[in-house]
Each structure stands twice: as structure tokens, then as C-alpha cells.
Amino acid sequence: MPMNESWQTAEIPGPKKASLIMKPDIADAMIRRAKRPIMIVGHGIIEYDVEGRPLIDCLIDLSRKAKIPIVSSASTNKEFLAREFEPAAIMSAIDISYRLTDPEWKGLDGKESYDLAIFVGLPYSMEWTILSGLKHFAPGVKTMTFDCVYQPNASWSFPNSTIKDWAASLKGIVENLED
């Protein structure tokens, strides 16, 4: 399977395409470099495990270790609450993404705008279009996706991967952040 083709075959954007996260170190470096990262988590995460653990637990670990606030969209919040983890905000993916296009917006805590937005778990085409909106209209925000498929409109994306390879990479990112 080609690594850097849109997962949905026909959804080809244009000249500017996401760089591949081929190694956990790449994502790790981007996260470390970001001053104000944020993570937007959609309902699709419920379907996935990372080497035997639910993906959501992996994301909670990541959030805690890297101090990345989580915005929970749709009904994902219930899963977080079940784990006694309180997301920074409950907002629709559309709403939070729209705010990211506003350079004047000072973030959920009213302090400063975000410079890195990590997306995971949205329906593929919805995430595709939202990332396109940010690519064109949020020049100050880099975007990254943690899904197991390639999202060309992000700044960085995993390649189209097997679940096994993707899970290993994701686990590596979280482990690296412990260092």
C-alpha cells in the first residue's frame, strides 16, 4: 500500500502535502519544539488498541507527559470521564478548528494561541477537510495526525500503515516523551 497517498484514494489535495512521520523521533521532536500544542480527539479512537491497550489510554499518557491539553469532540468525552480524565474542553472538531484559524484567539485558557494541533480519531474525510481549512487559513498552526492512515493536508502525518506498525510508532512517541 502506498505510504503517502490519501487513504481515500480520490481525495487528492494539491501541491502541498503532509510530511511523513516515519519514526517516532520526528513526531517527538515536533511536539517538543511546539510552545503551545493542543490535541483534538474524535470518537474514532474507541475502535483502536495500541499493543493491547486502548488507544485512549495511550493518548491520556501522551497528554499528561507532554502537557498537551485535550479537546474532546462528539461523544469521546464519555470515554475520558470513564477514566477519570478531564479533557481541557469539550468542543466540536469544527468549532475548535475554526478558532485555531483566529490568530487573535488566546486559547482555551486565555493565555496564548496554539502553534501545534494534533488530530486523531475523526472521520477520515471530515479530518481531511478540517486539516485543509487549517492548512490554508491558519498559517501559524502546524498540524499533525496520529491516525494510522495518511492525511495529506496535515503538516505531518503517519503513512498508511498496518495497525501493528502504527501502534509501535505511537507507543514509541509516548515512551520518548518520558525521557
Partner: protein
Amino acid sequence: MGRKSVNFSIKEINTDLARFRDLNITIGAITREQWDEPMGPTPFPSLTTLRPWDQRLLKRYKPFYLPFCDLCCMCTYGKCDLTGSKKGACGISMSAQQSRTVLLSACIGAATHISHSRDLLTHLIAASGRDCPINVGGTGVEVEAPITRLVCGIKPITLGDLEPVLDYCENQVTQLLAVTHTGQEGNNLDFESKVFHAGMIDHVGMEVADIAQVSALGFPKADAEAPLVDLGLGTVDTKKPVILVIGHNVPPATEIIDYLKENDLFPEVEVTGICCTALDITRYSPKAKIVGPISWQLRYIRSGVPDVIVIDEQCIRTDTLFEAARINTPLIATSEKNCLGLPDLTHEPVESIISGFVTGTVPGALILDPEKVGEVAVRVAIAMAPQRKKHSALPTKHQLTEWAKKCTQCMLCRRACPNDLPVAQAIRLAASGNLSGLDELYDDCLGCGRCESACKQKIPVHSLIVTAADKKTREETFCLRSGRGAIQDTEIRKVGGPIVLGEIPGIVAFVGCANYPKGSREVAEMCMEFARRRYIVCTSGCSAMSAGMYRDEEGKTAYERYSGAFEAGGIVNVGSCVANAHIAGAAIKIASVFAKRPLRGNYEEIADYVYNRVGAVGVAWGAMSQKAAAIAAGFWRLGIPVVVGPHGTKYRRMLLGRADKEADWLVYDARTGEQVNGGPVPEHLFFAAETKEEAMVMIAKLTMRPNDTSKGRANKLANYIDLHKRLIGGIPPDVYRLVRTPADIPLTMKDEIQVHLAEHDWKEATIPDPTLLSRMVHSRKVA
């Protein structure tokens, strides 16, 4: 007003002034005024007449563009890369290009409805005459054409009166389309204003179509007890010859019914339909059956059940001729807009046409005479049935397994699937004889067939899914309340107060196509949930069908469970796509019939009333088409928000409010003229929800209006908070923005909300008499 061509000639006349011989006089139009309401400020608005109103809305709801492509490829300068801040060779920016594309889409949608309306009206005038009276509800409906009266400032009396209305619509769509030419409009917000204009014109066109067909074809007239009709694949009697009609423009299908009746053949032949022609044919005859929404085309045709297929226009698969040939079924095309390369046999003798079909020498034909279509379709179905023997294009279960064994697990099927369904995994299971995976896919499958086109092994994937789910297809035996058309003025008077005050928590209209993220069932579940909560639920088009394709725990469909009246807890199927006009019409009539606001050519004031006081929300959960884009735009201009499913982001832009920016939510208090905070309601004008759960919570929130009384706001908040707790988890984070006074707090939630308010430093606010229009202020305190 009416348009009549009057001609008279005088052979010879002598007067004191002169002597005339062979004098011919033609008067193109005469006016017969029968409406004493004074003309409002904006009859027949042009492209910019309502621009100030649009700008008010667009200042609050700014576009969030979601480009579906980084390029513009619309002229030979291109392709132009518009990524980020780059401009095209014509100077266009990405935001302008996106709004231009949205306008194109809305123009296509409006043109389609208006063209449909024109063809229908021409046919009905030919059959019933220009003087055929408009009657959409007898004495129960005095305002027969609220949108036409509002936009055009005229009160149509007869079918002939609708012709100049369509003249206006056609003119406006032409003007709007011209706007999209290279080097024309360059500002994204001006494009957006024109999108709203296209939407408004679209609603006029839809209204003309539906009031004309209701009047001339005897459809249910604002009837809350319109009959329940059969719905689903399993309702079709496959022992009989079966006719399938697909599309939106009903005259050929009504002629089929007429021919069957005139020849006492109705008991012997099944008339079935897909998409809006199906809805309208059951409004004409409740004996006809609805197979399902647009996504049922492939599965039904491949089943081999139809013995003849008659298509008219819109939302018909363009490969229908190919699919029909696979099951040896003749196809009759009936619209100039959809000829499919077929020979035009309109003027051939009926016997000759039938012979061609039955002998197989003619696989399909264009017949542009609906009456002839009626006879040919019936006789061909009767002749073909015994020789076709329901020849199916679906594999047997054994063949299915053999096909599945050819799968290489390349995943191209899944990568082609709009819903990213696990097709390859299901086929892998099927190869081992386990069909459960494919059977499960059936419920969420859109029926687009892209999986098959993608498959390098030529596996008929969609057919495999349908075969695996054959038990489900046989059990599709549902019902739907036939489209009732308009809402009665008497119903409006009854619910107007409770709606405006917020005691009925809202009107939720489920409209549009079937491009659902997770099947039809979600629409049915949402309809039933909101009806149970005493909202007024309206349905139309494919969504009206989906609403009926599910049974609750007691085995009842939505239409059996809930009344068809426009009342709290009613589920009101207005009819086909063009009947959407009655939903907008109901909102307009709340302003005019209930609140007595002047209607005639008075768009801004009525829209301002609807926007600030009528808690209506449109939900196009599977919106797919350009028509859906135009319909949504018509609602936006009226200030009615629209929620779409996740595929709706492909419409390329949302219209979103910012609840966190207080300055965005200022309204005039009409009592004092002061500008006050009306609160972030409705928060968005066009919003794509990720899941059904998110949509339901957002729908409940979007029904709030600045004018809600405390009792009404408490009712709306109770629904919003309860849904949020149940579907998202916890109290919504923005309740403090929606509570204006302590009396707004739902009694049963008082303690927890007071804690929430204290956490957010909440302060009490006044409830205004809200308007966005300074001229609506009672005392002239506005600068």
C-alpha cells in the same frame, strides 16, 4: 397578479377621431390584483437588494472555509495553485474561490429545482389550464404561497399566476451564474451573499413546483392524516409485473397510475419508486410503493424485480441504462435533461415502441410524452414480466463465496468507500463462508458502488453485500405517512405562540439526501427522540423515507408512533424535495399568520422575526447534492441554522458563530433601541457534526433564540443539558452563556446549574425584544 396573453382584432371601427381597419391588439400581461396588503420594500429583489441583511448575518456567522482542492481549474490560465495566501492568475484568493464554488453549487441546485418547476408547471397548465385554481389546503390555508408572497410580493391565484414567478427565478439564477465567471465577483462575503440569494430563489422555485402539483394533481392538501403508504424492498409483490420510477418530476409516473386505473390493471401491476418521484407518486396514489431513498437504486435494480424502469430527472444514477440492461429490463427516459444517449421515440406509435422493448431490439428509449409513457410502461411491464422471470444480477450465495475467494486484500475497496467501511475484512470472512461481515455492511452502505469500480479483480462488491443481506432486504417492510404538503394556517395559529415563547422547544426538520455516515437508522432515531421530547419534527425527501425505515421496541415506525400534525410531538412528512418549501413556509407563516407581521415583499422584517424568535433547525444528515446546498442556503437567509453530517464538510465551508465573542451577539432591544447582548443563539448557521450524538446536542442548542421567554429557555435548556449529559457526558460547558436570568434555569437541574454559574462568574442579563434591524425599534433611540 396574473399573466395572460390577450389578443383581439377589430375588422373595422369608426370613431370621431379616426377609422380603423384590421386592427390587432395584443396585451402580454394583465394584472388582476386580489391582495389588499400594501407592498413591502423588497418585491422581486435583485442580487444586491438584500445584501445588507446578508451582511448582518455574515458578520455574526463568518465562513470557515474547508477547501476540497488546493487548485482552481476553471479557466485556461489554470490550474492555479491557491494554497494559503497564493492568488490565481485572475487574482482570486482561496477564500473567494471557495465561496465561488459554493455559489456555483447553489446555482446548480436552484436551477435544477426551478427547471423542474418550469417543466412541471408547463405540463400541468397544458393539462388543467392556466385558470386552474391554486388550492393547497382549502379553507385551512389562506396563505397558500408564503415564500412567493414574501419574495415576489404577489399572491398567486391560479397556475398561470406562477409563470411570472418562475420568469423571475430564471432571471435571477442566470444573473447569479454570471457572477461565477472568471474576473467577476472577487470578494468572498459578496459571493456568500449571493449564495443566500440563490437559496432564497431556490425556495421560491420549490414552492411553485409543489403548490402547482398539489393543486392540479390532487395530492393531500395540508392533511395531517395523509395515508400511510408502504415503504421498503420487502413490501413489493414480486409475483406481479413491477414498474420502477426514479427521480423527482412526477408527471410520467402519474400517467402510469392513470393508465392502470383507466384499464382496471392496478390490482395486477406493482408501481414502485425510488427517491422523490416515489414520494410524489404515493401522494397521487397511496397504492404505489416506496422502495427507499436514492441509495437503494443499485440494490433494487440488481435484484431483478423491476420489469420496466422509468426515469425522469435528478439524483438518478447515470449508469441506470447499463444496470437495467444487466437484468434485461427496458429503460424509459422521460426528461430532456436526462436523455442517456437513447433514441427519441416520442413520436413513434405505441405498438412499435412496445415491440422494440419486448423483443429486446431497443434496450431503452427517450419518450417525452408523459401520457405515452404511461401506456408504454404498463404494457411493457406486463409483457416483460413472464419472459424476464425477475432475472437478477445478484450472485447466489455460492457464487458470492467464489467471488470472495478472488479477493487479494489490496484494500482499494475500503479506500474507495465514502464511509471507510471494512469491506476487505468482510470479504475475507465471506471467502470462508461466513457472510456476517457483509451482512453488517448493508446497514451502513451508501449503495454508491465505488468499491466495485475500484476492485482490480472485478468483484461485484456491492452485489455481494446485497446477497449477504437478503434476509434484511425481505424484512424491509415499513411505512411512511404520505407527504401532506403545506402546514395549515390554523395549525400555525395554534403553535405560533408556544414556538415563539419557547414552550414548544423547537421545529426540527430532517431533510435531504441519504449520504449518511452510518445508515438510515440514525435519522429515524433522531426523529423519534425529538418527537418524544415534544419538538415539532418535519421530514422531507430521502430523509422522510429514512425516518420510516426503523421500528421501535414496540415494532412501530416513526409515522405510526407519532401524529402527522404540525404540533408538539408530531412527525410531519411534507413530501418530496420541493415540498421543503412548506417547512420554510411554516416559519414564515409564524411571522405573518401568527404574529401578523406584514408579509408582502417584506423579506428583511420576516427573516429578522424568524431568526430571532422561531426556534427552527434544519438537519440534512446525509446532504449530498447541489440541491441540498441551495435548500440550506434558503434557510440560512431566513436565519434558520442547518446541521449536516460529517460528509457535509465537503460543501467547503461552514458558517460559524463565536460564542466567546460577546460583541458578536449584540441585538437591538426593540423596546428601547439600545444594543444589548442577545446571547450566542443560535450559535451557528451551518455546522457539520461528527456523530449523531453531537448532532442531537447541537440541534437542541440551535433551537434557542434571543426572544425565548424564561419558561421557554428553561424548556430548551432542559433538553440541551439532558441530551448532553446522556450523549456527551456532563453538563455542557457553555450553560452559563445561555442562562440569562435565574428563571431560565430548569427547575430539576437548579442545584447543579447554580454551581456551574458560580464557577463562571455568571451575571444576570435582560431578555430583549430582539431585532437586528434598527428600523424595527419602537422608540427612535437608535443613532
